[in-house]
Amino acid sequence: DAGVTQSPTHLIKTRGQQVTLRCSPKSGHDTVSWYQQALGQGPQFIFQYYEEEERQRGNFPDRFSGHQFPNYSSELNVNALLLGDSALYLCASSQNTEAFFGQGTRLTVV
């Protein structure tokens, strides 16, 4: 079992650009959540996908959007990037169980 896998591992983008991050959940898991972890902070909940629909959302602007595919994998899209979007983006998967996290994607906005 490969666990939760995220790609890419690192990414550098310019202010104003758009970015797409990807997540493959742990085998058997149908729910995917995304978190943003700023340096030295705890992860903050962005949103959660289940059955290809956004089920819960945290306090993030509409620039943050997502998608879940029929195979349960997910994408996080961020438009009009700001310097403050620089962070570790974590994907977590679950199926009526504890959440298991991937290694994250380190996004740097310059």
Partner: protein
Amino acid sequence: QQQVKQSPQSLIVQKGGIPIINCAYENTAFDYFPWYQQFPGKGPALLIAIRPDVSEKKEGRFTISFNKSAKQFSLHIMDSQPGDSATYFCAARYKNGSSNTGKLIFGQGTTLQVKP
């Protein structure tokens, strides 16, 4: 508004010591309280978790103590080792109907250093 408050921010102990990390919450809509361990460059890994109807849970060298009336819970690491040096996060999960997939609210984290 910080819904889960964690302390201390950092902690240094000698090998074999018992570091204690504390968390407090206010919202009664939480139904599950996990602790995560995170190494640099890695995602958080679940260590141990407890439900509010239990006052204590032990798994190996890790123990959670839970005080529902005080809305506080803590992590104790027995016989700490240098390999335990990491950042520890407490979290609280919102109830989400009958499923166990409510969003997690994390504390600010505690950086633990265990000296040899």
